[in-house]
């Protein structure tokens, strides 16, 4: 499902203008990461996708719906939003009820709800924890419950707000796996994050925001190599990209394989010389 944002402006009550004219198209099935310093407007932008915020000026379209014309409850059938802090999202007594809440409210029949819940729990590795109270789980697993409760709604668009914050290596891998599976299912995945390494390894398109505007938008590898522009919004390129840049690699790299391929090549060239 296509997202089309035109000249979006947004001011919070009290006058802070958080978005100053953002235009953007995201096509069905894209994996998009939005990066930028604290206060750049990332969260404000994505809260427009499910109508939590409405434009002060400009339009946001989700498929053929203008978000101004549809309540959040309807928009949530198209856009699932996983909050940064799971505790802002969880309120049911068991993991099962929590995960089933969304699809039930979207009006799916009981068998379909059961199937959606089962799949979402399997994907987030929560199977077996159905009857546990979410607040008896560690924060890492509460995050997975929050993810599962959105995945179970089977929305064509999924928004992940800072998914890797405070997560350990295993949990980050689990989240990366979810992104991969959603992508294979043809869904659009949008994340906002400070974790550029996670972006580089899992997202194809990167949008850099600063001061309420889009500064850069393009393929991950090209965007993340722009050290100077990134610095203006306090973003550093991924670690291995920076390392490659410092070693004068002829083009930017974004993961271990690409780094080692390039380094082996340079090594062989030196050997011959």
């Amino acid at each position: 499902m296509r997202i089309e944002i035109q000249d979006l402006h947004f001011s919070y009550p009290g006058g802070v203008e958080a978005l100053k004219g953002v235009s953007l198209v995201v096509n069905t099935g894209e994996k998009v990461a939005i990066v930028g310093q604290n206060g750049a407007g990332k969260t404000t932008l994505v809260k427009h996708l499910n109508g939590l915020l409405l434009p002060t000026k400009g339009t946001v379209r989700i498929g053929d719906w203008d978000t101004k014309d549809y309540p959040v409850a309807r928009l949530s059938s198209r856009v699932g939003y996983v909050f940064q802090n799971p505790d802002e999202q969880l309120f049911n007594k068991t993991v099962y009820q929590e995960v089933a809440f969304g699809p039930r409210n979207l009006g799916y029949p009981a068998e379909k709800v059961a199937e959606l819940v089962k799949n979402a729990m399997a994907l987030t590795e929560l199977t077996g924890k159905e009857n546990v109270n979410p607040y008896d789980l560690m924060p890492t697993w509460r995050k997975m419950v929050a993810m599962a409760s959105i995945l179970a709604m089977d929305t064509p668009i999924v928004v992940l707000d800072e998914p890797t914050t405070g997560q350990d290596a295993a949990s980050i891998e689990r989240i990366a796996h979810c992104v991969q599976v959603l992508h294979q299912q043809g869904k659009t995945v949008i994340t906002i994050t400070h974790d550029v390494d996670f972006c580089a390894e899992n997202f194809e398109r990167i949008i850099v925001m600063g001061g309420g505007r889009i500064l850069l938008d393009g393929p991950a590898i090209e965007v993340l190599a722009q050290e100077e522009i990134l610095a203006t919004t306090y973003v550093e390129p991924p670690q291995l990209t920076r390392l490659g840049n410092r070693l004068d690699f002829p083009h930017p790299v974004r993961n271990e394989e690409e780094f080692l391929d390039m380094y082996r090549q340079l090594h062989r060239q030196r050997d011959r010389a």
Partner: protein, 286 residues
């Protein structure tokens, strides 16, 4: 004298069977900056709470062993006495903010008000700490109308203003961008240089390598490793225990297996060390 002296500490939360910390022993000297790493659930937060006295004074449960902080044995004292010596910055700033104050400025002064610090002194200290943590321009905002990163700075300021001898921080930069993270690490390092003892639970290993004096790695409630950052953070044990390592360390380890990394050099944690090693590796190629 060790500012923090933990001996054979075992602690079990109420209504749970297995201990969250098992036979933990560690010492932190005055002015040292120590990082605690570990997978989620390894006991990092529990250790922070214990050093800060929230265990056993706020969370009940069963505590065995000795926890001595600034010369006070925490089991045999009160939280009030400990608070004068130890400040704890929570992982989620939402848990820190008092809810009793309408502006950031008042929020930061709140702790000092409770200690009965004279007004003039209070103003001086609040102004200083707000400048230090980069939040001077937020003074009149509501603590609840801030971004996660801004709230984390307010939470840090509200503890620093108390000038504790020991500062305990539970992932204080989790919601900050890289520049914000650097600023916070610099402020904390500066405090440590001035003699404050610092213990910080943190996942970001490159920052730990750059700023801290010592690293304690926890796994399933036990101390897995403790020592200098460059040693602990490059240990092959970390990935086996679910602890993230720097991408520089990971890629250099693979390069070393192919003899592309200089044999004499330890594995890197930081960018500068990685650059030095990989440049060296190319120069050795013949």
């Amino acid at each position: 004298m060790a500012m923090i002296d933990v001996q054979d500490l075992t602690y079990t939360y109420p209504a749970t069977d297995s201990p969250a910390l098992k036979n933990v022993s560690l010492k932190v000297e005055e002015g040292e900056f120590v990082a605690i790493i570990g997978a989620n659930g390894a006991g990092k937060s529990t250790l922070c709470y214990t050093i800060a006295g929230f265990i056993p004074h706020f969370f009940a449960g069963t505590l065995n062993g000795k926890v001595e902080v600034a010369g006070i044995e925490s089991q045999h004292s009160t939280l009030q006495e400990l608070v004068l010596n130890v400040g704890l910055v929570f992982q989620n700033p939402f848990n820190q903010i008092s809810g009793a104050k309408f502006t950031v400025y008042e929020e930061i002064a709140f702790g000092l008000e409770n200690l009965g610090i004279p007004r003039e002194e209070m103003i001086k200290r609040v102004d200083k700490v707000m400048a230090l943590t980069g939040i001077t321009d937020l003074a009149k905002r509501s603590p609840y109308a801030l971004s996660g990163g801004q709230q984390q700075r307010v939470a840090l300021a509200s503890i620093l203003v108390m000038e504790p001898k020991i500062l305990v921080l539970d992932e204080p930069t989790s919601q900050l961008d890289p520049i914000g993270t650097r600023e916070v690490f610099q402020v904390i390092k500066e405090m440590s240089n001035r003699g404050m003892t610092v213990v910080m639970a943190e996942h970001k290993v490159e920052w730990i390598a750059e700023f801290t004096d010592k690293v304690i790695a926890l796994s399933r409630g036990e101390v897995l490793l403790q020592g200098p950052p460059a040693e602990v953070l490059t240990s092959p044990l970390l990935p086996q225990h679910g602890i993230g390592i720097s991408r520089y360390t990971a890629v250099a380890r693979r390069a070393r297996e192919e003899n592309l990394w200089p044999a004499a050099l330890p594995l890197p944690v930081t960018l500068d060390d990685a650059v030095a090693g990989f440049v060296g590796g190319l120069e050795n190629a013949h």
